[in-house]
């Protein structure tokens, strides 16, 4: 056997093993997701959230919303947050050194004045320039913090320092929340008597083309543009299948930075958000889990499948590429920081299953796919074109399509946000087109993220200029 043949064999059987494992993962994710979703829906049918809304025993919650150059939409977004159904609530807006007039707009709109406030810096952050409260008692729940720019993680750490309550919910200020979102997110912290719930995540859905009035979602529409539409499918797949399955196993490693609730005490004990990574949301959850595992305390990370939070998705390849580049870097950084857990039985399921899954199937998948495709092209170029290869490629893509269609089916069977049959058929069409139009771009963006990290190029979050969707009776069709 020549060395070329040997390498080809290793490559071939390596890919075979990887493919089989990935398929097994997909099947398991599907099965666990069905089980967890069914349990949740059954449980939820007994729940009257009004009990929590009117109870003085409900836990108090701080909502943390970092804002950077959000002047276009900040007033409406804050109004939307203030109108959430929850009694024991404080809303903390953290102006992360915006260069625009966000702070001035907030001061004018909400009649704010600067108060004397001792910031208990339990987490190290960039300096706080001032804390503001409203003279108008209607806005008594509102606290606005002005700080020196330090990024999202730093802004959230300031929020954690200033928050007065045991639990906090972090949200992206441009997100639109359902009115009962906090009631639903608070419940997991109350219903578990044997394990400490350290964090709870919620589903994020795509708001492009949806009808938003006065900062509230009034009508759900399927995104009209291709990129947001394909991300709609992607989010359904990620939230309804993957995260539900990992919740079943109590192995969830990621709660979206756009919408999640946390036990403040544990967050502080863990050292808060890591400003050195762009994947601070995942890194925090992993660190919190690690903290609990190392202390051998029973705990759980919960997840709510109800569509509670709606956000704008990138509609241009440029912004999308930047986002996916950042996600890739965030994943690598988190895995690198916590490499100690890799196949480490001391961390239980976290070390033996969750971490390896993320390493092999989230971080390595785009790399293997990229180099696999290159190898394939070289193989094709080195010999005569074989038309049966085309059929086989179609088979590869079909498995991805199958998984997407299963996700659409789960959506139809559960929350069915897109009522019209033609919308579902459009999603099916997107599932067919995604592997050839969208997926290669996502893989390429991840590869670029890997290269950027190797070159120590930290693109950070990048600035976003939002069109916004908070204006009256406006239908979102344009994006960032």
């Amino acid at each position: 056997m020549s060395w070329q043949t040997f390498i080809l064999h290793v490559f071939t059987y390596g890919i075979l093993l990887y493919s089989i494992l990935l398929l097994v993962c997909y099947v398991c994710i599907g099965a666990f997701s069905i089980s967890e979703t069914r349990t949740y829906l059954n449980k939820n049918s007994f729940t009257d959230y009004r009990v929590l809304a009117s109870s003085t025993e409900a836990p108090s919650i701080s909502v943390l919303a970092p804002a950077y150059n959000e002047g276009t939409t900040i007033i409406e977004n804050v109004r939307s947050l203030l109108s959430l159904h929850y009694n024991n609530l404080e809303v903390i807006i953290i102006n992360d050194g915006s260069k625009d007039d966000s702070l001035e707009k907030l001061i004018d709109a909400y009649d704010l004045y600067r108060i004397d406030f001792f910031v208990n810096a339990q987490l190290a952050t960039k300096p706080v320039r001032g804390v503001y409260k409203s003279r108008n008692p209607v806005y008594r729940k509102l606290i606005v913090v002005d700080k020196v720019n330090g990024g999202k993680a730093d802004a959230l750490n300031v929020g954690v320092n200033i928050a007065q309550n045991n639990y906090y919910v972090c949200i992206d200020v441009d997100c639109v929340l359902e009115q009962d979102a906090l009631l639903k997110l608070a419940k997991p912290f109350l219903e578990n008597a044997t394990e400490r719930v350290i964090a709870a995540g919620g589903v994020v859905r795509i708001a492009n083309s949806c009808q938003i009035e006065g900062g509230r979602l009034v009508k759900v529409n399927l995104a009209k543009q291709f990129l947001p539409r394909v991300q709609t499918l992607e989010y359904i797949r990620a939230f309804l299948l993957s995260r539900m399955a990992w919740t079943r196993l109590n192995g969830l490693l990621l709660i979206s930075g756009a919408f999640g609730a946390f036990d403040r005490d544990i967050v502080i004990k863990c050292g808060g958000y890591n400003s050195e990574t762009v994947g601070e949301d995942m890194e925090l959850v992993v660190r919190m889990r690690r903290y609990m595992e190392e202390r051998d305390e029973p705990y759980r990370v919960s997840f709510i499948p109800d569509p509670l939070c709606w956000t704008e998705a990138p509609s241009t390849f440029k912004i999308l590429g930047r986002q996916r580049n950042r996600w890739a870097r965030g994943t690598i950084e988190t895995l690198r920081i916590h490499k100690k857990m890799f196949f480490n039985p001391n961390y239980g399921l976290l070390g033996m299953l969750s971490y390896p899954y993320w390493l092999f199937f989230e971080f390595m998948a785009p790399i293997i796919e990229f180099f696999g495709t290159i190898g394939l092209i070289i193989y094709c170029l080195s010999g005569p074109i074989n038309w049966s290869l085309f059929m086989i490629m179609l088979g590869v893509l079909s498995i991805g399509v199958l998984y997407s269609i299963f996700a659409i089916l789960m959506e139809v069977l559960t929350y069915n946000q897109y009522k019209q049959r033609k919308d579902i058929l459009r999603l099916v069409l997107v599932a067919i087109l995604e592997p050839v139009i969208f997926h290669p771009f996502v893989v390429w963006s991840s590869i670029r993220g890997n290269f950027d990290l190797l070159r120590k190029h930290n693109g950070g979050w990048g600035e976003m200029t939002r069109q916004g969707f908070a204006t009256e009776k406006k239908t979102v069709t344009k994006l960032l």
């Binding site: 075979l16 990935l22 007994f46 009990v51 004397d116 086989i392 088979g395 498995i399 199958l402």
Partner: protein, 378 residues
């Protein structure tokens, strides 16, 4: 996803024993078959769902009629006896026939239940009669024997909403069920039927009561006239969640006479119990309460220490000033701020002591004092 990619190189694989084309066709057909199956299932599901919605409109019409007749029926006005009244409310043969179908029965039950939740008085009683006339209580009882927990729990919830108090003994057996949702619904039912007396299940339960269930039960009890039930037995329960719940009851219903018994729970082994005791003492206290808290302060963990000082913001007096001043040297800023706030809330003497403290002019106490003064002025 890479399985098929690999097949491109299939001369190196064991599958090369198969005919290449034959193998590819099998793989492709299997995947295509699965996709088509899912799509067909999805389309059929959507079709039958919309068809069901049309059926729902029909069932809604029938149930609305039944509910309307029951709600607006007044036996006294009609001047007829109870038997006649029942007959008048009685469901039509068509409606009874509808109950044989599982789906229509579920639908009509749901409609009656949601109407019942919004009714009181005669209308509510009439709906209860309608429910029984349709034999829905018998179906619910049958569901209690189901092996599926959610069906069992749903049946308990249904009997509770419909106020079927005659089945209370059957429901009581579920109050310590191993499935959380089942026992939660059963506990809710017993409290719904028997009010405070229904809390007797606290004597027997071995599973913990979650915070959510405690909130639910307290909310339910808020709607019934308070009764001075005996709580002290639950304060000694081996189930810590029962002790916590008993303490919440004592706090919410201002059970002053239990103060001394509850004070003993400050030495309870469970941290949550001790925290709930502090919450109770924050509202129900004597002149000596703060002394008791101070005497146990050093033995407590940080969370409970903080709760003690927060309680002293409400119940502290001049005799506690020295103790609170000593906390201004504490290494935790949170503790310092809480103690400073407690001092300020004691009154002028407390505030003067705070401002006169040696560290009051330096960071961080100077900023804390400014914040507290701002809070007092607001």
């Amino acid at each position: 996803m890479f399985l098929a990619k690999l097949l491109i190189l299939n001369e190196f694989l064991p599958v090369a024993y198969f005919s290449r084309v034959h193998y590819q066709v099998i793989v492709m057909l299997s995947i295509a078959g699965l996709i088509i199956s899912l799509l067909v299932y999805m389309l059929f599901y959507m079709y039958f769902k919309s068809k069901h919605e049309k059926k729902h409109d029909k069932w809604r019409l029938i149930s609305d009629l039944l509910i309307h007749r029951a709600v607006f029926y007044d036996a006294e006005e009609e001047d007829i006896d109870e038997t006649e009244a029942q007959a008048a409310i009685a469901a039509t043969a068509r409606a009874k026939k509808l109950m044989h179908n599982k789906h229509s029965r579920k639908f009509v039950t749901g409609e009656i239940l949601s109407a019942k939740k919004n009714m009181t008085g005669t209308a509510s009683d009439n709906l209860k009669q309608l429910y029984q006339q349709l034999g829905l209580d018998k179906y619910a009882l049958k569901s209690l024997k189901s092996r599926l927990w959610h069906i069992k729990a749903k049946a308990i919830q249904e009997l509770t909403v419909m106020e079927m108090s005659e089945y209370v003994n059957q429901l009581y057996a579920f109050t310590n069920d191993q499935v959380e949702l089942v026992r939660m619904e059963a506990q809710t039912a017993i409290v719904q039927f028997n009010g405070f007396e229904g809390l007797r299940f606290l004597d027997i339960i071995t599973y913990p009561i979650s915070d959510w269930q405690q909130i639910k039960l307290l909310q339910q009890l808020a709607h019934v006239p308070p009764v001075n039930i005996s709580i002290d037995g639950w304060l000694r329960s081996e189930n810590n969640s029962v002790v916590v719940f008993a303490l919440k009851l004592a706090r919410n219903y201002h059970r002053f006479e239990l103060h001394d018994d509850i004070l003993l729970c400050l030495d309870h082994a469970d941290q949550n119990v001790r925290l709930e005791v502090i919450n109770y003492l924050c509202e129900i206290y004597t002149d000596d309460t703060t002394d008791e808290l101070i005497s146990r302060f050093l033995k407590e963990d940080f969370k409970n220490q903080l709760a003690m000082i927060k309680a002293m913001q409400n119940i502290g007096s001049e005799k506690d000033i020295l103790f609170l001043l000593s906390l201004l040297d504490n290494e935790s800023h949170e503790m310092k701020l809480t103690a400073a706030r407690a001092l300020a809330k004691i009154g002028k003497s407390g505030l003067a002591s705070l401002q006169g403290h040696a560290l009051a002019k330096s960071y961080p106490l100077n900023e804390m004092v400014l914040q507290i003064k701002g809070e007092l002025a607001a």
